[in-house]
């Protein structure tokens, strides 16, 4: 597992914040199939935490166990200091949840659902404010069956937040949202975190995890394969960047002693120089020195998506 404990960015929760979720050796089987294989991780108070993985990685099962909606077959879990298996009903009043593949009765109106869920909490958010925040005001009297996919998602997130939860689980949050709604949703999720609510974001969308999350756990085939900040997980690749340019006549031997170079190769007229550190500056300087400044010098930095693809290609442990 690539476990990375990089220093968090300023303003983000640090390692001293108390854990609100602790998972140790969690296991879950459905019949003969093991879907969660002894995973461990923790989520700290105030963090925007991502559980990232492909479909079928075991993410949803894990968060359902955290909410007490499913039982575990092994390991231990505490959420806000409570065991979800023992105190599930109490816990679910303290946390908010937006579930993947959930629904409301077809004829239940938006306003009715917000009112019902607000009634479960002693000091719910003002409904008009919540509806405004999630662009639901004009849909107040519309039945759930008449909402689009994006409108349903927004309603579910509003329902998750109606009770002013300390911790909120958002499972495949931006599924079915158009790009504009997706950006809006990201902004609001950041605002939710900024108000002190801990957010656990479950997603298969690498870009979403990279843009939103303070820290990420990557799951693959029921195991945790990486844990750290997005930048630390990317750096665990070794920080290799690829510098590319077109020069069909360059002798590649002229680049062999460029500082930080790992390897150099050619794809037709295109030269690829792979290395770490300020490799772009060194390659540029050498090419100028050789009197062959290229017109198309480009650098490709590894992304979380590159690292994610690498991680899920490796056999899980």
């Amino acid at each position: 597992m690539a476990s990375v404990n990089a220093a968090p960015a300023d303003g983000y929760p640090d390692n001293r914040a108390r854990p609100v979720v602790e998972v140790r050796g969690l296991e879950k089987r459905y019949g003969s199939s093991t879907v969660v294989r002894g995973i461990s991780f923790s989520v700290r108070q105030g963090e925007l935490f991502g559980l990232l993985g492909s479909n079928g990685a075991g993410k949803t099962t894990t968060v359902e166990i955290l909410q007490g909606l499913r039982s575990a077959d092994g390991g231990s879990v505490t959420v806000l200091g409570l065991d979800p298996q023992v105190a599930g009903d109490r816990l679910r009043l303290l946390v908010g949840a937006q579930l993947q593949d959930a629904a409301l009765p077809e004829r239940m109106r938006v306003g009715e659902s917000l009112g019902l869920f607000a009634s479960l909490h002693p000091s719910p958010r003002p409904l008009d404010e919540l509806a405004e925040e999630w662009q639901l005001t004009h849909l107040w009297r519309r039945p759930f069956g008449g909402l689009s996919g994006g409108e349903r998602q927004r309603l579910f997130v509003a329902l998750a937040l109606v009770g002013r939860p300390e911790l909120v689980f958002l499972d495949e949050l931006t599924q079915n949202l158009d790009p504009v709604s997706r950006r809006h949703t990201w902004d609001v999720v950041r605002r939710v975190r900024d108000t002190g609510t801990t957010v656990v974001l479950v997603t298969h969308d690498v870009e979403e995890a990279e843009r939103l999350c303070d820290r990420i756990v990557v799951m693959h085939q029921g195991s945790v394969v990486a844990d750290g900040t997005p930048s630390a997980i990317v750096s665990s690749l070794g920080g290799a960047a690829t510098v590319s340019f077109t020069d069909p006549d360059l002798d590649l031997g002229d680049l062999r002693d460029v500082p930080g170079l790992a390897r150099v190769g050619r794809r037709g007229p295109l030269v690829d120089v792979i290395g770490s550190g300020p490799i772009l500056a060194h390659v540029g300087a050498r090419l100028v020195e050789l009197g062959r400044p290229p017109a198309d010098l480009r650098v490709h930095q590894p992304t979380l998506e590159d690292r994610f693809v690498d991680l899920v290609k490796e056999p899980s442990r």
Partner: protein, 265 residues
């Protein structure tokens, strides 16, 4: 799993009043059902029309084939049980299985609606729907054919309550067992028709074959309808042991709870 408590900063979260929440949810569900035209047909139209047709077939004079009862009264009173059977075999299982299939149950649970609150809400809903259907049957039958006052109103009430408990529990058991709303509808109809015909909604027991009568004797609906007729009309010797539908209710409730827990595991 063991839990090591850490600081719970939250002091304003007090569990809501469960009874009030169950009533609120049941009232909301009733409002949703009122928006569903099919429900009005199945709850009001079907029982009213069926009882009017059947009660009119056999006439208005006391008949030895009906234990000396007026046939129209025999059917009108018996239909108080039939509407409960329809509720428990079709309406409730379809609702419960559909909610689970679509993820409504999961959504409610995740939001803090506890399983006991949801069960209580279903019981309230079932009781209201069963009572409304029964009232419609009585009102329609009495308006068209007339009906005498019950001989023992308290016993009628007790039998009706036993019938409600029995079929609400059966509805919960079927709803928790069957995989989706379509299966619940199909199985429910398959069960309802023979139970309805043999359990007191069809021919009188005296004209049944011995095999049919033997099956009828173990159906809780036979006992509920027998008890209702005995306490209202005082004219039937059909089996009517109150403990039987109560026992079926207890077993069905236990089964429903176990099945729901297994599904949630």
């Amino acid at each position: 799993m063991s839990a090591v408590p850490v600081t719970l900063t939250d002091t304003h979260h007090v569990p809501p009043n469960s009874a009030r929440t169950a009533v609120r949810l049941a009232l909301l569900e009733l409002r949703l059902l009122a928006r569903e035209p099919a429900v009005a047909v199945s709850l009001i139209g079907f029982p009213a029309v069926t009882v009017l047709v059947l009660a009119g077939v056999f006439g208005q004079s006391p008949d030895p084939e009906f234990g000396g009862a007026v046939p129209s009264e025999h059917y009108i009173v018996g239909y108080l049980g039939v509407v409960l059977a329809a509720l428990g075999l079709i309406t409730l299982p379809v609702r419960i299985a559909t909610y689970r299939e679509l993820g409504v149950t999961r959504r409610f649970r995740a939001s803090g609606l506890s399983a006991p609150v949801m069960v209580a809400s279903e019981i309230i809903l079932g009781a209201v729907l069963g009572t409304v259907s029964a009232a419609v049957v009585l009102a329609a039958g009495a308006a068209v054919y007339g009906i005498s006052m019950p001989e023992d109103p308290l016993a009628v009430f007790a039998w009706f309550l036993a019938g409600l408990a029995c079929f609400i529990a059966i509805g919960g058991a079927l709803g928790s067992l069957l995989p989706n709303g379509r299966a619940a509808g199909a199985i429910g109809n398959l069960l309802f028709v023979p139970i309805f015909l043999l359990g007191g909604g069809g021919p009188p027991r005296d004209v049944m074959t011995s095999a049919m009568a033997s099956i009828a004797d173990v159906l809780p609906l036979s006992h509920i309808i027998g008890g209702l007729r005995h306490s209202w009309l005082g004219t039937t010797d059909d089996p009517h042991a109150l403990w039987w539908p109560v026992l079926v209710a207890a077993v069905a409730l236990l089964f429903a709870v176990r099945t729901a827990r297994r599904r949630a595991a």
